[in-house]
């Protein structure tokens, strides 16, 4: 299978010596969904901006459908659709006007642009709102329109930069279905996300990005397999005993136990046998768990194991403002 998108050793430093990208390489197979996964500030959006010709890398190169983004930017722009995390559609125009405008700017003839707008509004269930300005749209409707705008010229490569960031769970599910529908028809999708569940569900291949580097990549199943066969999750009634529990369980597995609020998670290889060891240890230390679960590892566990940090936390944000803890709790809520 040829690669639809290739990135070779991309590096980018912004003003003030902020190293956004520090040698990022990956390849996306044609017709597949590739997930760039990482916390805020990891460099995901910078990668997308380089691949979509908006930004030039300091070094390294990238290709879309075989065309170099720096050498043939004009041609490359006609090959992809982009839906950004800020849903940069014009809020003073109606849904229909937005789509027609994007169609015209893709050099579709006026009647073709109008027909295409009507088609997409219908497919994205926005026909009723088609002639209202975007100011009256909900967050989910705006994201849908933004995605529709990216599809106006029927591109075979689609960049989705945090397509569901900030959406409620129902709108997120809706959008996932739409994306899955597109993929089923052969579109190559590169999506960035900080939601591990999203990458797990949509992507056939994932690159975990942190501090401008790819720290691991592979199929979601491979990443999980590297971690261990099973994750043992122990819920406790008192968060105060979590640290003690983690220390007690350190002996049962090669992998480090992690404390997440009032629960302790530890990847294990031995399955039920190790679980029995764990129960014995708990009994020995006089710890009584509220829940005791063996489950498949999730990408959350992968990220935790790779970086030593839970995804809820920002790179250096432990001391940061209330806005981040709000974001973190929203994200934690979205995981369930």
């Amino acid at each position: 299978m040829p690669s639809a998108i290739e990135a070779h050793d991309l590096a980018k430093t912004f003003k003030g010596d902020v190293r956004a990208l520090d040698g990022v390489s990956f390849a996306v197979e044609e017709g597949s969904v590739f997930g760039l996964l990482g916390p805020n500030g990891a460099g995901k959006t910078t990668v997308v901006r380089i691949l979509t010709t908006i930004l030039r890398p300091d070094s390294g190169s990238a290709r879309v459908l075989g065309h170099d983004v720096a050498r043939e930017p004009e041609l490359v722009r006609s090959l992809f659709g982009l839906a950004g995390q800020y849903a940069a559609v014009d809020e003073n125009l109606t849904g229909r006007e937005n789509l027609r405008m994007i169609g015209r700017l893709n050099h579709l003839d006026r009647p073709v642009a109008a027909r295409r707008a009507a088609e997409l509004l219908d497919q994205f269930h926005l026909s009723d709102a088609a002639d209202r300005t975007l100011k009256t749209y909900s967050g989910g409707m705006r994201r849908r329109l933004d995605l529709a705008a990216a599809l106006v010229a029927s591109p075979s490569v689609l960049f989705l930069d945090e397509p569901t960031n900030g959406l409620d769970p129902q709108s997120r599910l809706d959008l996932w279905e739409v994306i899955e529908g597109l993929v089923a028809r052969g579109t190559t999708v590169l999506l960035t996300t900080q939601y591990l569940e999203e990458a797990d569900r949509l992507a056939s291949h994932v690159a975990v990005v942190d501090h401008g580097r790819v720290i691991s990549q592979g199929a979601p199943a491979e990443l999980k397999a590297r971690l261990g066969a099973t994750v043992l999750e122990i819920g406790l009634s008192d968060p105060g005993t979590a640290e003690r529990t983690a220390a007690a369980l350190a002996s049962i597995s090669q992998k480090q136990p992690h404390v997440l609020g009032s629960s302790v998670e530890v990847p294990i290889d031995g399955g039920p046998r190790t679980a029995m060891d764990a129960l014995r240890v708990l009994d020995q230390y006089d710890i009584e768990p509220v829940t005791f679960t063996l489950r498949e590892p999730s990408l959350d566990d992968v990220f935790l194991a790779l970086t030593g940090r839970a995804t809820e936390r920002e790179p250096a944000g432990d001391t940061d403002s209330a806005g981040q803890s709000k974001k973190a709790s929203r994200r934690a809520g979205a995981r369930r």
Partner: protein, 275 residues
């Protein structure tokens, strides 16, 4: 919601303009598309509609009925003296809208979305300044009507009057490019506005637009007599009210051309750099 059922994903064909002629045609249609989008925005944002319609009418009424009585106009009729000045003051104030509009598009990410489309690079600035030109045409028509209602009468003929409006609109188009530079330099629309007004006030008020320059303090007269707003106001007055025109017309054209030649390339360079 079900997945879109009829999205046809054809193998993407690379579309680059086929030769210079098509490139030129695309540049024009892209600029017109962006112009249409900007005009819709003007109409749908109440503040901008107020700014370009109610405000000039208020200025007409304010100077005609409040300040006008205290100002000795050469030639006697203050309302005739005033209206050509109002034309130029209004289009000059309107140029701030160019700054604000561009700053806002940058801030909201619209420009970034445009950058990722296969459209002509020139379309954002061309579409912005063209939309401002169209808006200025409408504003000038509005002021002509209001001016007539409060007693303004053209003293020459229809043709020189229209020529006068033409000079004003050309000057306004040049100013748009100048104020585009501010819009492209500001981090947001509020700052763009704050940056634009200190430039605008001396240009419009220390000019011959409302008050004869000979009544200003001596040290101010040198500036007030030769700065571009005065020159264009004097040109419009000569064309609409009578008097020698040739020298004023040449000076106006020189200022207009000068502003475009110097500031338009700066605006284009700023636009290319901002991403």
């Amino acid at each position: 919601m079900s997945a879109p059922s009829a999205v046809i994903v054809a193998p993407a064909e690379a579309r680059v303009p086929d030769g210079t002629r098509e490139r030129f045609r695309w540049a024009i249609t892209d600029a017109l598309t962006v112009t249409g989008r900007n005009l819709r925005n003007y109409v749908r944002i109440p503040e901008s509609l107020f700014f370009s319609s109610v405000q000039p009418v208020m200025f007409v009424l304010l100077f005609r009925y409040v300040f006008g009585g205290a100002i000795q106009a050469p030639g006697g009729s203050y309302v005739n003296y005033l209206i050509p000045g109002i034309f130029v003051q209004t289009v000059a104030f309107g140029a701030v809208a160019t700054s604000i509009g561009l700053a806002e598009d940058l801030q909201k990410g619209i420009v970034e979305r445009f950058r990722a489309l296969p459209m002509a690079r020139s379309a954002v600035l061309a579409g912005r300044t063209l939309a401002d030109l169209v808006r200025n045409v409408l504003v000038v028509v509005l002021i002509t009507g209001v001016g007539y209602a409060v007693g303004f009468r053209v003293q020459t003929a229809a043709l020189p009057f229209i020529a006068g409006l033409g000079m004003i609109l050309l000057f306004a188009y040049a100013l748009s490019w100048g104020f585009a530079v501010i819009g492209l330099s500001a981090p947001n629309s509020e700052t763009a506005q704050v940056m634009a007004f200190p430039l605008l006030f001396p240009l419009t008020f220390a000019s011959s637009a409302f008050v004869p320059v000979r009544d200003m303090p001596h040290w101010l007269q040198g500036f007030a007599n030769h700065q571009p707003v005065s020159v264009v106001v004097n040109t419009a007055r000569a064309l609409m009210l009578g008097g020698p025109t040739a020298s004023f017309v040449w000076q106006s054209l020189a200022w207009t051309a000068g502003i475009i030649v110097v500031l338009a390339p700066i605006a284009v360079r700023r636009y290319r750099r901002r991403s």
